[in-house]
């Protein structure tokens, strides 16, 4: 959203007065410097984070093993999950049966459920589709509903649950706080399970932006226009900062390129990317897609608060991203073209 406040997952939302991209990045950096919560900022500035990449993955393959290995390699202490409540948050923004590249594949959700249950956690799936009021339609069209029924995984309709108010821990936007649904408030871990996609306004939508779907439409509308008017990069950061602990498991097997996040074309990558730090996961995925993370507005806005973007501060496990660097097609729009970068620049 750079210069416009468009809907994150779609398509459009009315812009507020234009702000230049550079100005926005600078503004966000200044805001975070002065307003970050100290513990979060300390983590962001001091730490190295780990990201795991698995290649050659298929939806009918051993995704349970991949996800288990990936989360452990990323530093997750499996024993700490015992007795914890885990909310899996797939992407079901605007599902369509003939566009499976738009939404998280059900096999990913089934596998993640099995992993967390094997570690003694209680698992639930939740989503607040941003463009669809009929959540049961979203479950049906994405075929995720069938998977939940088959494995008897409970589902939380985050658009319509009772809500609670949480103070804005990010304070990058002007919102004093955020309304989260009950399933989110009760969770010990929220696991972002996005589909790896291009986004025609902000370049990439991945683990961080997928968490827009933790906020209820009943409070924010369809689309969640309150957030757009408060600034999409800023509110993406605020949401990520205000949630319980977050993990990321990215469906990068069949991805979307071109006019994402809704109308783009499928792109086969065969990847699963995991991590305990969503911003580091997203930065790595951006590099794989051929985008410079520092120029993705919400990544730039979150770097001082949520974790590192720099490659040298992201410890790679499994495959290296360079092996899978495979630029995604993007629309020939100036705001997107300037996010593209050569791989030698990406590695600096």
């Amino acid at each position: 959203m750079t210069s416009h406040n468009h809907s994150p997952e779609s398509n459009a939302t009315p812009p507020t007065p234009p702000v230049s991209r550079r100005g926005l990045l600078i503004g966000a950096a200044v805001a975070t410097t002065f307003a970050v919560g100290y513990p979060l900022a300390r983590r962001a500035l001091a730490s190295r984070e780990s990201v795991f990449i698995a290649s050659g993955q298929k939806y009918d393959g051993d995704l349970v093993r991949t996800i288990r290995d990936g989360l452990i390699a990323s530093g997750l202490d499996a024993a700490s999950l015992r007795g914890k409540k885990v909310l899996l948050k797939p992407n079901m923004v605007e599902p369509a049966r003939d566009r499976p590249q738009m939404t998280t594949h059900p096999a990913m959700i089934r596998a993640a459920n099995e992993v967390f249950r094997s570690w003694g956690a209680t698992v639930k799936v939740g989503e607040a589709p941003g463009h669809i009021r009929d959540t049961e339609f979203a479950l049906w069209a994405s075929r995720i509903g069938d998977a939940l029924d088959a494995d008897q995984i409970p589902f939380g309709d985050l658009n319509y649950e009772e809500v609670g108010f949480v103070a804005n821990r990010g304070k990058v936007s002007k919102l004093p706080g955020l309304f989260f649904p009950k399933s989110v408030l009760e969770a010990d871990y929220v696991v972002s399970m996005p589909k790896l996609k291009t986004h025609h306004w902000v370049g990439i939508t991945c683990a961080m932006k997928n968490l827009y779907g933790t906020l209820p439409g009943i409070k924010y509308g369809w689309p969640k226009n309150v957030l757009h008017h408060a600034g999409i990069p800023q509110t993406v950061v605020d949401i990520n900062a205000s949630l319980p602990k977050t993990l990321a498991i990215v469906d990068g097997i069949t991805c979307m390129e071109g006019d994402g996040p809704i109308l783009g074309s499928p792109k086969e990558m065969g990847l699963v990317v995991c991590g305990t730090c969503p911003i580091a996961v997203d930065a790595t995925c951006a590099r794989i897609m051929g985008l410079l993370p520092e120029l993705v507005p919400y990544l730039a806005a979150g770097r001082r608060l949520l974790g590192p973007l720099e490659e040298w501060r992201i410890e790679q496990h499994g495959d290296r991203w360079q092996t899978h660097h495979n630029p995604f097609q993007i629309l020939a729009e100036p705001h997107l073209l300037e996010m593209q970068a050569r791989s030698d620049i990406l590695a600096t």
Partner: protein, 300 residues
């Protein structure tokens, strides 16, 4: 249509006014329950949800999403429709209806609300300067709240008000070139977006009977006809059928589909408003959401 009675019997209970079993009652499901009861000739039973909605109305006329969440206030538009439907069903002039005070107060509040216009840009296909109604105060106008506002204005005899005229233009403008509607965008960066059943059905309800000359309207009916399937989930199915009913295009098997979805809604953790929506859709052209906007216009 023998399946409806047990579902109607439940709609007077506050437990039926929740989005999901075990949740607290909410205002939109309560209004839908009232509309379904009224449509099925039970206006007296509908007094329970209607009175509950009245009890939640703030001094300035608005209603929140439930008893605790006083904002946002888009359900106010549903309440106006439900209260107005009760008046029509009771065969009393609107001015003498049991809820006229609530209706007038709510309308007054509704007319203070305006979607935030946006300067037009090449990136967006719709006319972002047109003003309708937002989901939440101080945000852009979107399709569904604007549909509800048009229905409310038409149902209360305000079809020719300037706000209603502009809202009708907005709704027409938000129809997709190939037919159908989504939450309220048409083209973005030159690409036509996807249509969805609920907004498509709702926009046909809002524009029904206006005799608008726009080729996207028959295309919108055609989109529903071509895309509706027997296994659509309940809310989408019901809205699709309501839209088709405005064009007298109800599929022969519609009643079976609706009965099935109403029965499915009894499974654990299902979306409870499906019952009211299925009951409304089952009325076909006698659905209050179809008849209500036209009643006063034809009287006038």
């Amino acid at each position: 249509m023998t399946w409806t009675a047990p579902f109607l019997d439940h709609l007077a209970e506050p437990a039926a006014w929740a989005y999901r079993s075990g949740q607290a009652p909410a205002t939109e499901p309560a209004a839908l329950a009232a509309l379904a009861l009224i449509g099925h000739a039970r206006p007296d039973v509908a007094r329970a949800p209607l009175d509950w909605l009245a009890s939640l109305q703030a001094g300035d006329g608005r209603i929140g999403i439930d008893a605790l969440q006083k904002e946002p206030n888009w359900p106010t538009l549903w309440a106006i429709l439900a209260w107005t439907a009760h008046a029509h069903a009771s065969s009393v002039p609107l001015a003498k209806s049991a809820y006229i005070d609530q209706i007038e107060l709510a309308l007054r509040w509704m007319l203070t609300q305006k979607g935030r216009p946006i300067e037009r840009s090449r990136e967006l296909g719709h006319d972002s300067t047109l003003v309708g109604w937002p989901w939440v105060a101080s945000t852009h106008s979107w399709l569904e709240p604007t549909c509800l506002a048009v229905l409310a204005l038409r149902a209360t005899g305000r079809r020719t008000d300037a706000r209603c005229e502009e809202a009708i233009r907005l709704l027409t403008d938000r129809l997709l070139p190939k037919g159908g509607a989504n939450y309220g965008n048409t083209l973005v960066l030159g690409q036509e977006l996807l249509a969805h059943f609920q907004p498509t059905g709702l926009v046909l309800l809002a524009l029904a009977g206006l005799k608008l000359q726009d080729e996207r309207l028959p295309k919108t009916v055609a989109w529903l006809e071509q895309n509706i399937t027997a296994d659509l989930p309940g809310a989408s199915l019901a809205y699709a059928l309501m839209g088709l009913a405005t064009a007298d295009k109800t599929p022969p098997a519609a009643d079976d589909w609706l009965r099935d979805r109403a029965e499915q809604s009894e499974r654990p953790n299902r979306f409870l408003p499906v019952r009211s929506l299925a009951l409304l859709a089952a009325l076909g052209p006698r659905n209050p959401l179809v008849t209500l906007p036209r009643a006063l216009e034809y009287d006038a």
